[in-house]
Amino acid sequence: MSTTQSSAAVGAQSAALDVSRIREDFPILKRTMNGKPFVYLDNGATSLKPQAVIDAEVGYYTELGANIHRGVYEFSEKASALYDQARNKVAGFIGARDPRQVVFTKSATESVNLIVYGWALKNIKPGDEICVSEIEHHANFVPWQMLAERCGATLRFIPMLPAEGTLDLSQLDQLINERTRVVAVTAMSNVTGYIPPVELILRRARAVGAITVVDGAQWVSHTAVDVESLDADFLVFSAHKMCGPTGVGVLYGRERLLEEMDPFLFGGDMVQRVRKEKTVFKQIPDKFEAGTPNIAGVIGFGSAIDYLLGVGMDAIHAHEQQLLAYALQEASSIDAIITYGPSDLLLRGGILSFNVGDAHPHDTGTILDEDGIAVRTGLHCAHPFMHALGIPGTTRASFYLYNNKQDVDRLIASVRRVAEIFA
């Protein structure tokens, strides 16, 4: 995985972002929340949008307005071209060889389900095994659980080591074996920011001929990604977590597999020829994009990709690493705080999950909210994870390119207040 390399280079690189210039691009950062300047540390849930992305969506609505791939008039052709360009941009962003490997869905969640309905339901047989990890987001777990139930397959879990929330790979060769048909694993935990050794897991999966699914929802937004060297069969992610609009997801897939797969949603635009007796479907990626897509969203996503590339993914990654290191250092001065995740920062993206004394995460969130700070609290759609740790959730601060040290200082000050109240 290219991550390890780029994060290893962080110290040397010092590719400092011009964060104050970047902050100018995000209009919402001028707002106040509960009377305090807005500090947004909920990037794991969704990212803020730069003006360029908002403008791209508005531009589509005020200058083109038309549906795509169906009109012979100028505005429709222009909208179609922008839509197709967005696909090219996404393909380029992740290093896909061919834009036809990029399918637009409505979310990373739909992308995983597309794999399950289009590939897995017809290929998984009773007795087959599906291997996931214990730290998966529900989006990359519940669909596989449903699949196992429907097909009579067995679900196996790469266990979590409670100490640092990392994966225990010591039994990998038993967990992924010749009965394993699918290995689905996250490239970055949305709870702790932990970046598992996906390369290793995928290598083992390929050795037994299993299909590999990588959940990149947290990862693609924060790191330079190269799907060719990752060598996964499928990669899923969401636009809204990477400066793009809501309602757009991506399924990247190996060409051969996408071609083998059944269509998932049926309807207009995915068909070549429809007769009462028989329908012939289009080729990939069209056969997976039935109906009118989220045109404005996809066009806005194209502009988000441009924006991120303009800033530079390696620089973003390095910046988040610095913020995380700073936050951890500051947090360590608060007695009552417990943080989760690996102590080796090279194994982590910019997420700080914690609890304060006996304050419930919900209480912590409310106090931070009063101080103008947005964080996520609770189970983070990762019930099995929390269950394994035996905690009622965490408070999660997650960083992105527009966050700065002041944001961390505000966070730490507010956490101190939590510690005092619940002393």
């Binding site: 919900h362 209480d363 106090i367 009063e370 609290t377 609770g378 959730g393 109240i421």
Partner: protein
Amino acid sequence: MSLEEDIYKEIILDNYRSKKNRMRLEDADLHSEGANPSCGDDVELFIKLNGDTIEAVTYEGIGCSICCASANLLCESLRGRSLAEAQQIILQYRDMLLEDGEPEFAEEISDLEAMQGVKNYPVRIKCALLAWNTVRDMLQDSAGAGDNA
């Protein structure tokens, strides 16, 4: 208006931390579970009846300070009450949080008034109501079941 004045005052934190009523009742007559999936709060209530009287009431579960404090206060204020009295208290409690009713709880359960500050934080009202809605539904269901029998 500040969190320390409205919510995070001693009376609530004490009730949050109290373990007195936090246990399962193995011989409960009534038992029900309520959850707020959006925040992960999850509360189980246990009631032991003696005729029409609530002899014992306890709770178990996971929740924030407001959720747990309100559950503990629930146990404290319903223990020893008749079902009719209990229903009256539940009504008053809900009115305090949902309507603009000024609470007029009897002296011995006036601690319930501490929850009034939650009103200033609309997001948290559902935390303060979880246990109380659960007990209300539980009593209604059991009354309904009685009617049918």
